[in-house]
Symmetry: C2
Subunit: 599 residues, 2 copies
């Protein structure tokens, strides 16, 4: 099984050459985040990914997890890999230094996450959920809660989970029924069943800190009556040591299409007196608090899409370079060639490569927005970046995961019949990718968030500002429009930006008086954003590459490939903006035309 190799060069490019590192240089705390530090970190992460995590990806898929009584046994090697991961200090990378974290910007941390996901997505779901729990406690926990659990969670000695949904609720968290009853000493007793709990139980760490949504007695109906609780598997004594076993256990694990090595648990809280829990943040404000974590998690899930696409690309490329089959077009005799010589195989590889690079550049833009929204010294700039982050979050989550599935599926196709044979490994990436458009909010939910809370709610302000930036960039491109590739890229981008602009006008106008019609086009609108914003970033990448080449840069293979890939994107992917726009602007009535009985 070929091992994953971290795409260091392209990561360096998006971090440093597309402007991210300069941008976070505005933040005093990050003055020490130098180009050399970035290189060193990515390289170390890449080594660990290739050497330790990647070899377990396939074996973990084969073994899966098992439930023995209420204990979950993870696949051979995973526990040990986690010990090494923790010992190397990786869990603390982007955490607040106040609680033992290294405080690195997400600009770097997200790329490191991409590396973990590329190597072994099932593995890194555990640390990802833990990091969500850390964020919730940092932002909303009491001083006591922070003191008792944060050092252990940040160091990775313990892990954390997010317990949101229940069988009857699905994506509709207003339907959550788990109950929390105060017992008078500031503690609560929780009862209820939670499903789809990733790493709800496992054998990696002695304790697990669950963050759980539940209702207080007499809480209002709906989303305004949900509170957030911290429920440790083992209670935590005042000195931070582990106490009695709490009333929470895993009662079953799911048999899934993919991510077999990651346990997906049904968790039962309080089958006797109730599980002991501690209120995190305000009463009835649990969903609001959970959203802080969910938005960060959504960006991380977007990274999963990119990471699986990258790994599928690497595997397909390696196969295409080795597999000898057929001859060059038109040749009836002579040497047989590797399949990378066949134009359609190239088309598939270019599609994979172009999608991966566009997604990586776009998600990096979101990482920078996240960093600056927290730490930029200027408040107005923080708010501007928060607006951009809010807009980009559903796009990165929704689009990068949808494309992740498509790219992983192309990876199977490049392998031909061997792609369908499980031992080849290409099919696993497709199976793993298939969850990413579903959890942490389906693509449909991301799209509703985009059109409602992000675009219509502010009358398109941020969306139009970004579109204006794209148009301003057209002027930068104009200077290079004599260059054949850049001229073509400019033309295609201008057309696609117009489509995005028209669709945005339609959404802003339609949503307030007909939210249902706007919702009918929400996913095409989200894909339109992804396609066009990805094209914008690829155009920026191409211009940067041209500037580097004009300046005599040595790494000319990389820069030339970047320009050619951006051109491919402009010619093969950007023109689909037309189709998405049409679906948004013309297509809502037909979505809603049928009676339920007519289906």
């Amino acid at each position: 099984m070929a091992e994953y190799s971290a795409p260091l060069r392209d990561m360096q490019f998006v971090i440093k050459e597309l402007g991210g590192l300069d941008a976070i240089g505005m933040v005093p705390e990050w003055h020490e985040v130098t180009s050399d530090l970035v290189d060193a970190l990515l390289e170390q992460a890449g080594k660990f990914a290739t050497g330790v995590l990647s070899p377990l990806n396939w074996t973990g898929d084969r073994s899966g997890c098992r439930l023995e009584d209420d204990a979950v046994i993870t696949p051979p090697g995973f526990q040990d890999a986690y010990r090494q991961f923790q010992a190397a200090g990786w869990p603390a990378l982007s955490c607040d230094p106040e609680f033992g974290g290294q405080g690195l910007p997400h600009l770097v941390g997200h790329r490191v996450s991409e590396i973990w996901n590329g190597a072994n997505m099932s593995f890194c779901l555990g640390p990802m959920l833990t990091s969500g729990a850390v964020n919730a406690v940092v932002r909303h926990g009491t001083e006591e809660q922070k003191r008792l659990v944060l050092p252990k969670l940040v160091s990775g000695e313990w892990m954390g989970t997010m317990n949101l949904t229940e069988p009857q609720a699905g994506s509709d968290l207003s339907a959550v029924r788990a109950r929390a009853t105060p017992v008078g000493d500031g503690r609560y007793r929780l009862q209820g069943t939670k499903i789809f709990i990733t790493y709800g139980e496992h054998d990696w760490t002695p304790n697990i800190i669950h963050l759980v949504l539940a209702r207080l007695p007499d809480a209002p109906e709906g989303v305004k009556g949900i509170s957030l609780f911290l429920v440790p598997k083992f209670l935590v004594n005042a000195d931070g040591s582990m106490g009695a076993r709490n009333e929470v256990k895993c009662v079953s694990i799911e048999h899934k299409l993919g991510i077999h090595a990651s346990p997906t648990c049904v968790m039962a809280y309080g089958d006797k007196e109730g599980a002991v829990g501690y209120l995190v943040g305000g009463e009835n404000r649990g969903l609001e608090h959970m959203f802080t974590m969910m938005n960060l998690a959504r960006l991380e899930v977007g990274l999963e899409g990119i990471a699986l696409a990258e790994r599928a690309y690497q595997k397909a490329l390696s196969y295409a370079r080795e597999r000898v089959q057929g001859r060059e077009i038109g040749a009836r005799s002579g040497e047989r060639v590797t399949i990378i010589h066949h134009p359609d195989v190239r088309r598939m590889l270019m599609t994979m490569k172009a999608q991966v690079e566009a997604m990586r550049a776009l998600s990096t833009l979101a990482s920078v927005a996240l960093d600056l929204s927290h730490r930029h010294p200027d408040r107005a700039e923080r708010m501007k970046q928060q607006g951009l982050l809010d807009l980009l979050t559903p796009v990165v989550k929704g689009w990068c995961t949808e494309q992740g599935i498509e790219v992983a599926s192309l990876g199977v196709q490049v392998h031909g019949g061997m792609g369908f044979v499980e031992e080849t490994g290409a099919a696993q990436y497709l199976r793993d990718a298939r969850i990413t458009t579903i959890y942490e909010g389906t693509t449909g939910i991301q799209a509703m968030d985009l059109i409602g809370r992000k675009v219509a709610a502010e009358k398109g302000m941020t969306a139009r500002a970004v579109i204006a930036e794209m148009r301003a960039f057209d002027k930068e491109l104009a200077g290079s429009s004599g260059h054949p590739a850049l001229g073509e890229i400019r033309r295609a981008l201008a057309e696609a930006v117009s489509a995005l602009s028209d669709a945005t006008d339609w959404v802003v106008e339609t949503y307030p008086h007909n939210a249902r019609a706007a919702a009918a086009g929400a996913v095409p609108y989200l894909k339109l954003w992804g396609v066009v914003a990805g094209g914008w970033q690829m155009a920026r990448a191409a211009l940067t590459a041209k500037t580097m080449l004009d300046g005599g840069a040595e790494d000319f293979d990389f820069y030339r490939a970047k320009i050619a890939t951006a051109r491919f994107y402009a010619e093969h992917i950007l023109p689909h903006a037309h189709g998405f726009k049409s679906a948004v602007v013309n297509g809502s009535a037909s979505v809603l035309a049928l009676d339920e009985a007519q289906f």
Copy 2:
């Protein structure tokens, strides 16, 4: 597990109301194929599918096949289901009456195949391959071969296989190495290994007739040196009874992403003296003979795409009607609703429905072309229909399977988290569908066939004739352009037909002097054909529906839904013609721009 229900109404519509039954009425042998006969056959097939085949689909996926020594054990219930299938006479449906077949047109036979595939694709791969073997022997076998094996194969008492590829060959059959040595008595001894042999071994029938590609001694290199042999598992005595066990056996079966109930075998021929085989057709003409079977098989694989899409749609629809989650858009209180109320769920269901109906209508056009190309009394018409069939075969195979995957994936998405849980069953359709774009020629190979042998070779004659038919149909639509839906459909179709026409001109012009550039756009060109030809058929369906409604037809729910679905197709799917055209016409240079090292 919800069972498959044959979509009888839409099948009746495409067979009867879109003109197929009238067209084959030109053929005297088929005067008895009446509307009532069609209804009765489809209904019977539907009952068998729902009652017998469909319940085994999920259990077969779970059990899979096992190899014990050289025997393959198929999942529980499959052997018995095959006995019932055979006893009911289904294998003989479209076979030549001269050999015991019922001689029904493919117009009906293909829809029955769609039903089998919808119910249980793994099951019906066995009969499908057998039917390929029957065709090969009917067309190219000696009288003796026909007498000895056809009655048994047509009745289904024995089954057949197609043995093409080998480990080093893949899609490149010119690389086949299996050897056949004449032994002087008209028989041959075969030696070699064949891979990916569907139902190469099983426990359904006492004998299996393998059709095998191999090289004669001193045969020329390449595709012109391959011959076709009939190799029975048990030799056949002169009286048709079974004789000695032949030297052919299954040495392993693949562990695959999907179609688990269908054994995919590695077959070893002649580990001692060589397996006894009989030459079918001319020496060194095996590939040519095999292509007769493969073209038929390609249409059948297209049906698999449609069938899985239909089943995925049925399952998603049933879930969307039952699953209660969330409230109507904008409502913060009140009753929770089933998810079919949510616009994005509707959009997904409409996408699935529109794709399925467009594919079914297009594949029916190909079925009629196949029927008329064989049996139309007028030779010129036979040739015209052959041209249409040749053009449509790669489109039906390539496009319907690509869309089948997309629709099956949407089916998972409609189920949310439950879609990722294997017990739900939605994921199986995606796993099963994933092979269809690979076997019987990948989408890339279909696309090369389309641009080369089908379009460029005749300078676009048939392609342009079909485009002219689409344009002529625009005039028919013009009469209804005041109708809001039909006006919109007309507008969208005209735009898409122009894109297809431009791309066709480009292919015809480019291929002769730069086949590589044309090949770079081959798959987008194939998809363009699928999207536009599907849109043409949906527009025909909408006009037919309007005519029926204007005439006071009773089934108005069906016809209104047909018009709304055609409109959805025109607004959401047809506009992507623009993107595909751009990829074909502008995008070839960027596909080929990188050096191998630059990837």
